[in-house]
């Protein structure tokens, strides 16, 4: 069914993801339920069942098969979608790598949750971060509207001939997946302008499988063959996708009027800020509230939303570091044994290496396994950055060089 007028719906983040797949005119959905994602594929099942969405809906027996089905459907030239989370993403992992290696523009939303054991179903980005090196673009949404908008942008970026890689759009389980907010659902005429349907065989830049014209793909390649070069190309095009992401965010803003910074990062009150806090996901939006409250108290603080973890916005992080003396980098994920214990802060530190910039990075880990993070707590994080800037003193309770904020006392 068509969407003639713009509509504002009061919906959960998961339902916003389902509407985005409908608005993107996705043709094939493959699904297996897992908390806290399940209501995404349930809503899509409703859409398909009621004739509201002319798509193939494939029910499979596991997440591994979800991605296998999407690999097949995508390589046949269709626009594909699914959603998963936590253990489901881990179980899918083999095919996740395959999708990127086969250069397929699949889009999947992740309602991120903590990894077991012990069982955990609440916000924690360790699931999607675990797929860091699979070759997928990884983006984080901080609001219900941003989930919807990011999925639309994701197809445009991934299907670009210069990219042809899959993308995760991740958001915190329950924090965004099950809370409800007003979300703008865009009308078809605008959507078609931004994201036209996939071209037929002639216009499709990818190889195109067809039972009428049998071919092999992904077969064994000797070390002297092009395997090595294929790998380099994935990295090369992932890095180059930065400018496609920027271009897409600009175009999105022009058509729909909603801004997402330069696409890779979004700054908030950074122009005269003395310290900055970088966040991923919902905490990035909540940090803006902390910034406003602290500015009323006279503190010059600014916030940065990291929208993309892959490709990593190296240049943007360097530019932030040029503006302020101290940056707090908040991970709602763990990267055990890494330099800082968190994936994003390790990357930010690495981005500054060799630049000659002596900005101090305070790595922070917070909200693991859905542990609640309040605005007050974020304000305290900012205050620790200010203290670090003014006195050079790091917080006293750091663990291996990282502030595990909000952690309970453990023996």
């Amino acid at each position: 069914m068509s969407q003639k007028e713009q509509e504002i719906k009061f919906i959960t983040g998961n339902v916003a993801a389902a509407y985005a797949a409908r608005s993107a005119k996705v043709q094939v959905i493959s699904a297996y339920p897992i908390t806290p994602q399940t209501t995404v594929v349930e809503k899509l099942s409703d859409f398909v069942d009621s004739g509201d969405m002319p798509a193939q809906y494939i029910k499979v027996e596991s997440e591994h098969s979800v991605m296998a089905a999407l690999v097949g459907a995508s390589i046949a030239g269709t626009r594909t979608f699914s959603a998963t989370a936590g253990q489901g993403l881990l179980y899918m992992s083999e095919m996740v790598h395959w999708a990127a290696g086969a250069r397929l523009p699949i889009v999947m939303t992740i309602a991120s949750r903590g990894i077991a054991p012990p069982w955990n179903i609440w916000a924690d980005f360790t699931d999607v971060i675990s797929q860091r090196d699979a070759g997928w673009l990884i983006s984080f949404a901080s609001s219900h509207q941003e989930i919807y908008d990011s999925v639309l942008m994701a197809y445009k970026i991934c299907e670009n001939e210069e990219v042809l890689l899959p993308m995760f759009v991740a958001y915190g389980g329950f924090v965004l997946s099950h809370t409800s907010k007003p979300v703008i659902i865009e009308p078809d005429d605008k959507l078609e302008k931004f994201l036209p349907p996939l071209p037929d065989e002639k216009g499709w830049p990818h190889i195109f499988i067809d039972p009428e014209r049998p071919m092999m793909h992904g077969n064994l390649i000797m070390p002297s063959g092009f395997y090595y070069e294929f790998r380099m190309k994935i990295h090369d095009e992932m890095i180059k996708s930065r400018h496609i992401i920027k271009q897409t965010a600009l175009e999105f803003e022009k058509i729909f009027g909603r801004s997402y910074g330069n696409g890779l990062i979004q700054e908030y009150k950074m122009d005269d800020a003395e310290v900055a806090l970088i966040n991923i996901g919902g905490l990035a939006l909540q940090a803006e509230q902390a910034v406003d409250e602290l500015r009323q108290e006279g503190y010059k603080v600014g916030s940065v939303k990291l929208r993309h973890f892959r490709p990593f916005p190296t240049e943007e992080i360097i530019n932030i570091a040029k503006k302020v003396d101290v940056i707090g980098v908040v991970d709602r994920d763990t990267a055990f044994g890494s330099p800082t214990g968190g994936a994003v802060s390790s990357e930010c530190k690495s981005a500054l290496h060799g630049t000659g910039i002596d900005t101090t990075i305070l790595p922070i880990i917070t909200g693991i396994g859905g542990r609640e993070v309040s605005v007050e707590q974020q304000k305290e994080e900012f205050k620790k950055l200010i203290k670090l800037k003014e006195t050079g003193e790091f917080p006293q309770d750091m663990i291996h060089g990282t502030l595990w904020d909000g952690i309970l006392e453990v023996k």
Partner: protein, 192 residues
């Protein structure tokens, strides 16, 4: 009545009493009636029927709502089940100036244990739902009468907005739901 920019509401119920849906409906109805922004925040764990459940709403007339964390200092508190008042962490949320909406058919004795300026409204939501046979497997659905009472107490949305949202959500079951809303709107009264 409340001049705060962002109004915060806490819902206390037991699994099956539809407190989570109540928070979603309240936020949506406030948004429909002209509030600029609203969010509904359920606290989800291993739910089972009868276990204490919490949900929250934030509604705002002009500011954007950017916090996802749970409400710790509510302006309004819903008590779907009076036995919840015996749980210390529920009772602790009742602070000075709070407005309570309690599902009860009789006056509750607080024995001067309440902070200052707490206003209490009572409505027999269970009785109203049973009267109109609004129940799932024999358990009365409490969210609509509680929200009908809240419409009267807060003035944040009217019965017309309730009807619009309930029709959109519940289709043919809307009329039965609205009967309970109207009854509760009429019957809610201050507990003195």
């Amino acid at each position: 009545m409340i001049e705060k920019k962002i109004i915060e509401i806490a819902f206390n119920g037991r699994g099956g009493q539809t407190a989570i849906t109540a928070s979603q409906l309240l936020s949506e109805m406030a948004y429909e009636s002209g509030f600029k922004d609203a969010i509904a925040i359920p606290i989800i764990g291993a739910e089972r029927r009868g276990a204490p459940i919490q949900a929250f709403s934030r509604i705002s007339r002009d500011a954007q709502i950017r916090s996802y964390s749970s409400v710790t200092d509510p302006d309004f508190i819903f008590i779907f089940d009076t036995t919840l008042l015996k749980i210390p962490r529920v009772f602790a949320t009742i602070k000075e100036g709070v407005i309570l909406i309690i599902n009860t058919d009789h006056k509750i004795e607080f024995n001067n244990n309440l902070p200052k300026n707490v206003k209490i409204y009572m409505v027999d939501a269970t009785g109203i739902s049973l009267k109109h046979e609004l129940a799932i497997e024999g358990f009365p659905i409490l969210n609509i009468p509680m929200l009908g009472a809240f419409a009267k107490v807060s003035g944040f949305y009217g019965l017309d907005i309730m009807e619009k949202v309930i029709k959109k959500k519940f289709g043919s079951r809307a009329e039965k739901n609205m009967k309970t809303a109207r009854d509760a709107f009429e019957m809610v009264k201050e507990m003195i």
